[in-house]
């Protein structure tokens, strides 16, 4: 049974150490430079086995989350005082990093948020000061950025309309810089629901101008959400925000998020044809806002009537169908447009089209070209994403559900299937470009054994100093 049989281990009793040892032993025989095929199989077995063990012990979720919420120390050089005594240097002891959470900072933060929560709930004034205080706590205790973010996220979601409950840009950047993203995510979410296009655009500018500083995975998630919102409201698809998200997202997730962004753009364009004033309604439906209007309301009925008269591509249908009340979805399905008409194909176009998740003109199940490990891995990824989403967002609200069905496993993230042909040998690579090289003919040896190059006084070189 893959992968255990490849490693000759008993799955019930194998530990991580055993897996590593078994892999190392087999590796001596199946060396990457001598047997690439065998090595690939072995390596796939090794990583699959490790994953299984990590899933079993539940450590992977926490580890991934802690990595996800990066635990590098803050970048400020103002804290450079080395206060440790010099003794460790002689003993070559490296300082332990995982110091237990200092109780004081946690309790400080919790208390401050309780106070703010109570104030918001009872409609007191002076919220702005409390918010400033809470921001200050973040600056002082950047190692508690996760906790802070969760609490802030919670408050913003529940009291989103309170005018004083806003974060300064610097605080958002600080949170992202230190590996958090929950509060920033909540801000973006709120702007999204309120159709605050100006707010979204200025956030976009803020992120982009600080992108070096906030290069973290949390930023990837926040930026992806921002890009979705912008795509929907401002129909801005090729934005730098999407690039920022792409650069910072984990490779396993970035395709997913890019698709969300595309779908939002598609929806936006589609809805341009809708009666005005419905855009907000649709947005609420897409985001799964618990306070969204039902389909029975005036907007809902208008939307339904319009849908039934509009013509849809399969792409749009896919996105919308499970938002529509069930009894109407059958009729809705019939409205989905026939396959894209044949164009007047010009041969030799340079375009090619990646498989899209929407049904193609000649629909056919798209089978992943993989070995058994992939469905497992994908399921793992799926579970992990869901868990992470739940952990991030907290209890009630669903995160951006504007892509109701996750794409079918057509993401060939890894293809373990061996190549059909034997391992390819490098083919001769021909290059046409002429090159002025040194004419070695001129490097003559004189009788004394010295070398001469005819000096050319007129040649003043293009000295390519990298020192600019």
């Amino acid at each position: 049974m893959f992968p255990w049989s490849d490693l000759e281990l008993d799955p019930a009793s194998a530990s991580e150490r055993d897996v590593k040892r078994a892999y190392a032993k087999k590796l001596k025989v199946c060396r990457p430079d001598q047997d690439p095929e065998g090595f690939r199989k072995l390596h796939d077995a090794y990583t699959a086995a490790l994953e299984e063990i990590q899933w079993g012990s539940g450590t992977q979720i926490e580890d991934s989350q802690s990595i996800l919420l990066s635990n590098l120390a803050p970048a400020s050089f103002s804290q450079t005082e080395l206060t440790e005594p010099s003794a460790p240097q002689e003993d070559e002891i490296s300082l332990p990093f995982s110091s237990p959470a200092i109780p004081t900072s946690i309790s400080l933060i919790e208390e401050a948020f309780w106070a703010l929560d109570a104030a918001l709930g009872s409609g007191q004034s002076g919220i702005a000061d409390l918010v400033r205080g809470v921001e200050g706590l973040l600056y002082e205790h950047p190692d508690q950025v996760q906790l802070w973010g969760q609490r802030m996220h919670d408050l913003i979601t529940r009291f989103g309309d309170h005018p004083d409950l806003r974060l300064r840009p610097e605080a958002m950047l600080f949170e992202l810089e230190h590996g958090g993203c929950a509060a920033s995510y909540a801000i973006i979410d709120r702007l999204d629901r309120q159709a605050g296009v100006d707010g979204l655009s200025s956030l976009a500018r803020l992120f982009i101008s600080n992108k070096g500083r906030i290069a973290n995975q949390g930023t990837g998630l926040a930026a992806a959400h921002l890009a979705c919102a912008l795509a929907f409201w401002a129909q801005d698809t090729s934005s730098a925000v999407a690039d920022l998200a792409y650069e910072n997202l984990d490779r396993g997730e970035r395709e997913l998020h890019m698709q969300y962004i595309d779908r939002n753009a598609a929806m936006a364009e589609f809805l341009q044809l809708a009666p005005s004033g419905l855009k907000s309604f649709w947005r609420q439906q897409l985001l799964g806002n618990s306070t969204r209007e039902s389909w029975d309301g005036p907007d809902g009925q208008l939307a339904l009537r319009w849908i039934q008269s509009a013509s849809l591509t399969p792409h749009i249908y896919q996105t919308l169908f499970n938002l529509i009340p069930k009894e109407l979805s059958a009729a809705f399905k019939r409205k989905a447009a026939p396959p894209i008409s044949q164009s007047s194909g010009q041969g030799g176009t340079t375009l090619q089209w990646e498989q899209a998740p929407a049904p193609k003109p000649s629909p056919r199940p798209i089978l992943p070209q993989t070995s058994i490990s992939i469905p497992f891995r994908f399921a793992g990824l799926l579970i992990f994403l869901l868990v992470k989403a739940a952990l991030l967002v907290g209890t009630c609200n669903k995160s951006s559900s504007d892509s109701p069905n996750l794409p079918a496993p057509r993401l060939d993230l890894q293809s373990g299937k061996p190549a059909r042909s034997p391992f390819v040998i490098p083919s001769t690579k021909v290059n046409e470009e002429p090159v002025d090289s040194v004419d070695f003919k001129d490097l003559l040896s004189t009788p004394e054994g010295r070398t001469l190059i005819n000096p050319d006084p007129r040649s003043r070189p293009d000295h390519p100093t990298p020192r600019k």
Partner: protein, 568 residues
């Protein structure tokens, strides 16, 4: 078999013998050979130390740091000839070959060469070409951080450790995360910047000093000035304060000044470390050890950075300038199946994401090209082979021009194109099983070279990549010609190297001095040159000794130690 570290600033050659790696020195007893080529005043060709001195004196007479231009179509001209990075590297490699042969007494033909982990396909090809021109057959290209890990761990390869190799060299910055266990050295992830290194720190310090004192060196003195600043920078690794002479006075620079001057550069280090840890699924606390590589990692700035970001105090265990060459020799020993080194298997990763350009459906039936579809993600263990299915946009479309890119950005305009391949016969025919579909398979081998194979699924025809664009590379014909010409060439007759070096050094010093000191120097150099002419060995030796002691005195006065070793 030997190992060569072809560095941006210095190159080294080492061999594995008697159970351990050993670096080989040239006739001057130096283990580090500056990676510099220059043309001397009388038209001769200089390599190494002599070239570096010449370059300081006349920055237009040669070239340094050409490693940064590998894989590009950069050209340099000096000495009346046109050069490119590949031919320059070839000259350095042939010099290293000569040093090895001199030490070992036998011909050397096989070599392991190191490259930065971040080097892409073209840069690696260029390195292999340079070696071929120099008459060397490349057994293996290994990444510098992996070589460092080998040097560190080859004696205890069974002990389980996770190490982070922090390599800040003259021109490049790499961070690599490795795991060593049971005789396996496994690279988990790697990240870097190919244009960030010690040289940039020196430049920043030069600019800072010039701005602070409102001063600029004269055109003829820029080389010397930069060298002085470089020395000061190195001094700051061991002293709190260093001084630099500026217009007849001495100006002090403290460690804090260096830090201020280079803060922007140090800020670029952090995202690289962060990405490496993230891709490797490891947190800072899980690292057992940090290995420093590269002369620039001696700077206290680096030590402070590592202390803050990774919460540990590092100690330099193996000389950062030499560790890569030592590791290359260990690999040479492994490749030659030397019994003294226990079997270690290396696995490495590809540092860049590789993929193709695709078109997406965007919005309502609209299509937009220019999107990057990854096929092999960065930090995938190599050798790796991945494939993906694509299909044509329209049923009538017959041909596809597949553009191959490397990089991390979402749009291909921001990634680096490394080749293209054309597939025909994709038009939909009735009765076809899989019309318009094709499978693209990327295979990335251990040396970091990419192969592309495309299969037309409806016809079953396969096509392998023929690279159509590779800037900076030579045609096979040119390579053969260069090979033929270089073989019998004796660039540096043995007895010439030390003397050449002396003369160039004397020239450089002459430019720094004025008045009576110059006359004194002349009085010492002239007899030496006369001795060279006469070719009388005793006379040469005597006059050389006098010249040497003069030069030594000069450098001690300047605070410069032996130029190629670092204060440590």
């Amino acid at each position: 078999m030997i190992g060569i570290d072809l560095g941006t600033t210095n190159s080294l050659v080492a061999v594995f013998e008697k159970g351990g790696p050993r670096i080989l020195a040239n006739e001057l007893g130096e283990e580090l050979t500056p990676s510099v080529i220059a043309a001397s005043e009388d038209g001769g060709l200089l390599v190494g130390r002599a070239a570096k001195d010449r370059l300081i004196l006349d920055p237009k007479s040669g070239v340094a740091c050409f490693k940064r231009d590998m894989g590009t179509s950069a050209r340099y001209s000096f000495g009346g000839k046109e050069w490119n990075p590949v031919t320059c590297s070839a000259l350095i490699l042939s010099e290293m070959k000569r040093i090895a042969e001199m030490n070992l007494g036998t011909e050397v033909t096989h070599v392991v060469i190191t490259v930065p982990a971040y080097f892409h396909d073209q840069q690696r090809q260029a390195t292999i070409e340079a070696a071929n021109i120099a008459g060397l057959s490349v057994d293996r290209i290994i990444n510098e951080p992996t070589a460092a890990a080998l040097a560190y761990g080859y004696r205890n390869p069974d002990q389980e450790t996770r190490i982070l190799v922090f390599d800040l060299g003259g021109g490049t910055f790499d961070v690599t995360l490795l795991e060593i266990f049971d005789g396996v050295v496994e690279v988990k992830s790697s990240a870097g910047e190919s244009r960030l290194g010690g040289e940039d720190y020196t430049d920043a310090l030069c600019q800072w000093i010039e701005a602070r004192h409102g001063w600029k060196p004269e055109a003829s003195q820029t080389g010397n000035w930069r060298q002085r600043v470089e020395v000061a920078k190195r001094m700051l690794a061991v002293h709190e304060v260093a001084s630099v002479s500026l217009d007849q006075r001495l100006v002090e620079i403290s460690r804090n000044d260096l830090r201020d001057a280079t803060a922007a550069l140090t800020a670029r280090l952090r995202p690289v470390v962060s990405r490496c840890l993230r891709d490797g699924d490891t947190s800072a606390s899980e690292i057992d050890d940090v290995l420093l590589v590269g002369g620039a990692s001696r700077m206290t700035i680096v030590q402070d950075f590592i202390h803050e970001q990774l919460k540990r105090i590092t100690r330099i265990r193996i000389d950062p300038d030499r560790v890569v060459a030592l590791g290359a020799a260990v690999q040479a020993g492994l490749s030659a199946n030397d019994d003294a080194v226990s079997d270690i298997v290396l696995t490495d990763v590809c540092p860049h994401t590789l993929g193709v350009e695709t078109t997406k459906e965007v919005g309502f039936g609209k299509h937009e090209p220019g999107y990057f579809s990854p096929i092999i993600d960065r930090n995938t263990t190599v050798p790796a082979s991945r494939s993906r299915l694509f299909h044509t946009l329209h049923p009538q479309q017959d041909r596809v021009q597949l553009q191959i890119f490397q990089g991390e950005a979402r749009l291909t305009t921001e990634n680096k194109k490394i080749g293209q391949i054309q597939i025909d016969g994709l038009r939909h025919q009735p009765g076809q099983k899989r019309p318009g579909e094709f499978d693209v398979r990327f295979t990335y081998d251990m040396n970091g070279i990419l192969e592309v194979e495309v299969t037309n699924l409806s016809s079953g025809l396969k096509k392998r990549l023929i690279v159509e664009q590779r800037p900076g590379s030579l045609t096979k014909k040119e390579i053969d010609e260069a090979l033929a010409r270089l073989q019998p060439l004796k660039l540096h007759p043995r007895d010439l190297l030390p003397n050449r070096a002396r003369l160039e050094r004397a020239n450089r010093v002459y430019a720094e001095l004025i008045g009576p000191a110059r006359e004194h120097l002349t009085a010492v150099v002239d007899p030496f040159e006369a001795a060279l002419e006469s070719q009388d060995p005793t006379l040469i030796k005597q006059t050389a000794a006098v010249l040497d002691s003069f030069l030594r005195g000069f450098f001690e006065h300047e605070g410069e130690t032996q130029p190629d070793s670092d204060p440590s």
